[in-house]
Symmetry: C2
Subunit: 433 residues, 2 copies
């Protein structure tokens, strides 16, 4: 072997970054590997993109078959996005015994089992450091650095759009819609922000992490997902008054009954001195807890052209090293095998502390009634705050509870919400330690 | 090959942790590698240590020749400490074509070039994830995850003893000696704490990181090192009043002239909102800046039995994978080759902002004199604070300067300290952004 030959599909934001890094780091990478890594071909429908990139002697075209049909290409980097074309491309490349590098979390979360089974059959690997956490090397840290650990908890801020919006709402007291518009103006949110603010993107990423951490297949559609669209500036303000910050977290916990994994995505209130509470703007962070290593945190830019491209390039070097050596295929297939499916703990059995915000009529007996219905379900109150003249709709009553199951909480809320003194939707935000 | 056979030298704190982790993760590691990793032999002078460990069928003895002479052993884990016996052991093991894993930062910082040259000649590798940052996977992150990056700055809190002492002094207003005694009582500081509080341990670690980051050999003895023994509770109190926290940092910057690297260890004042300012107690953190990835932070326990053992085990799996495959030897030797020696930027040419604390006589004209001598060297003042009746020795005057070279500062201080109005040692703490 005289060189490692790669093909890149997608020369947009991240793809362009990969071309730039491979160009300027070509000597370092050759020193590291003992062989050069060469971009043999780049494919993009918008062929105008090639002009701005240091493509060198790479052959540029608009037809993905040029890469798939080139037997010299050993690694295909899929940066086309979406799950239709990308899925077909990845499966074709794997079937032709080409290793695949992808940043496509939706593709892996929704079609991971098929993709990894295809890779296993063909005897090649799928690398996806860039799919979760952009420039933060979270996949490698979990799989390699923490190989001596049983990881029993993961808490992560992994969507820059949501974190920017919540940071903005907290800093400026702005409403969700205004913060979203600002994020869109700055290029931090897409024109259709549904996947981000609805929590689905965080869900895709946490599904991938849950599979790695559990050593089994965690189906994306079994994960309970809530986004940040219902978080109001009142929620932010009350949380702040209580010393808390609201963040969207992806959570994995191994405290569930044997064979079940607690995996979920929802907004949480974090106490101000929590290490994740200070992660602001578009930054991401992941807090892992392992039985040997204790707590470990990674922090960095979870998205953007160059941070994501940095992760892709680290996969290129890993893949190249494994091709040059005869190192065992490095993605254990059992993580994604449907035959080792992990059952996600149903959300109604999950125990949590809660912050409840009721909007009620200002009349005697209301607080007693609220406390009564909660008490009937075994939910005891940690603190209560009632505010005067806050909203036209009614008086806000904020209750922080001790730990209770979601089921008991929902039962209590069903009774409470049938009362005539409830004047608006009740807000429920879980409190995370 | 049917198994990977290892020998462990040193069954103390970290060695014991390694034995425990390899015992309880034996199935996971076999799944990961396709082969079992077996502890063939353990050597420790204190043979009583073996009884408490799950040594399985490992042969335990007090003689290191038992491991060196066993041809079946492919990997030697050196956890004996010190630099005399350890150096001899490591060189012998490498000469016999055994791969070496070590947590010994002093050994690598002081004898790295000889060790890596011996390894290169024998065609084997040296793994040292546990030598820097304990459970934080900093070596792997720099060498593999950030391979696409030019790293142009490293700022790290990497000595748990110093960070505990400074945290304690900040939280409780205690003096250095009291905080040190408390650290010793809790087992966070050794009976002879010189290497830690003098900054030498941080220096060893930053020398290793500087070699990795620069791709050349950074001689340990060329690094300017200051510890925390001169930090008083007054320094802490004044820093706090100004919104700063005092931390001991290891610093690497690539802004030096061509061929020079800015590497140093000293206490700094960090503004309260700096991400490293909130790293407390025995926790460590490292903030890296790369041209592609931007800022990235790792945070975790930098020492202790299990976190350090976790790092050793990750090296065991890496080494085993490279043995099973025929992957290129993974520590580029040029990093430690004396033929690629990197010149460290002399500290007197380093530019910094400073916090100066003078203790002066309370008489007219003193402030003008101080400002005059500083001004003559081109050092302009950012802010001045004078305190009434603080110390019996004199009046404290705190000056924060704009950026100036160490040389100009030292010249000004030489003039100032000759003045009769100076009543005590002048304290100089650099301000880091």
């Amino acid at each position: 072997m005289r060189e490692i030959s790669i093909g890149i599909v997608g020369a947009g934001t991240v793809g362009g970054g990969v071309v730039k890094i491979l160009h300027r780091r070509i000597d370092n990478i050759r020193n590291e590997l003992g062989l050069p890594v060469r971009i043999a071909r780049i494919v993009d429908k918008e062929i105008s993109r090639f002009a701005a990139l240091p493509v060198g002697d790479a052959r540029c075209s608009a037809d993905v078959q040029d890469i798939l049909g080139d037997d010299a290409i050993q690694i295909v980097i899929e940066l086309s996005g979406g799950t239709t074309f990308a899925k077909e491309l990845v499966l074709s490349a794997l079937s032709r015994k080409k290793h695949v590098i992808t940043a496509n979390k939706a593709l892996l979360a929704e079609h991971g089992s098929q993709i990894f089974e295809t890779a296993a059959k063909a005897g090649v690997s799928v690398y996806f450091e860039a799919a979760v956490g952009g420039g933060m090397p979270i996949i490698k840290v979990i799989r390699e650095s923490l190989v001596g650990n049983e990881i029993f908890s993961v808490k992560t801020i992994i969507n820059g759009t949501c974190n920017y919006i919540l940071t903005k709402m907290t800093a400026e007291g702005s409403a969700f819609t205004d913060a979203l518009k600002d994020a869109q103006r700055k290029g931090y949110a897409e024109a259709d922000p549904t996947l981000d603010v609805g929590g689905v993107d965080t869900g895709h990423k946490i599904a991938i992490l849950a599979s790695l951490v559990s050593g089994g297949y965690v189906p994306f559609h079994s994960i309970s997902i809530e986004g940040i669209t219902t978080i109001s500036k009142d929620d932010i303000a009350f949380a702040r008054e209580l010393g808390y910050t609201i963040k969207l977290l992806g959570i994995i916990k191994k405290n569930a009954p044997e064979g079940q994994l607690d995996v979920r995505v929802h907004p949480v209130m974090l106490h101000g001195n929590h290490i994740l509470a200070s992660v602001s703007d578009v930054y991401n962070a992941i807090l892992l807890e392992g039985d040997a290593v204790g707590q470990i945190l990674l922090y960095g830019k979870g998205a953007g052209e160059m941070p994501t491209a940095s992760a892709v390039v680290s996969d290129v070097v890993d893949a190249a090293r494994n091709i040059i050596g005869t190192t065992p295929v490095r993605i254990p297939m059992q993580y994604y095998s449907t035959s080792r499916s992990i059952q996600v703990k149903p959300i109604y059995t999950v125990t949590s502390r809660y912050c409840l915000r009721f909007t009620v009529m200002d009349r005697p007996g209301v607080l007693a009634s609220l406390a009564g219905y909660l008490g009937k379900e075994g939910i005891s109150l940690a603190s209560v705050m009632q505010k005067e003249g806050f909203s036209k709709k009614g008086v806000p009553v904020i209750i922080l509870t001790h730990a209770a199951t979601e089921k008991n909480l929902r039962t209590a809320l069903t009774h409470i919400e049938a009362m005539d003194y409830i004047k608006d939707r009740t807000q429920v935000i879980r409190i995370e330690d």
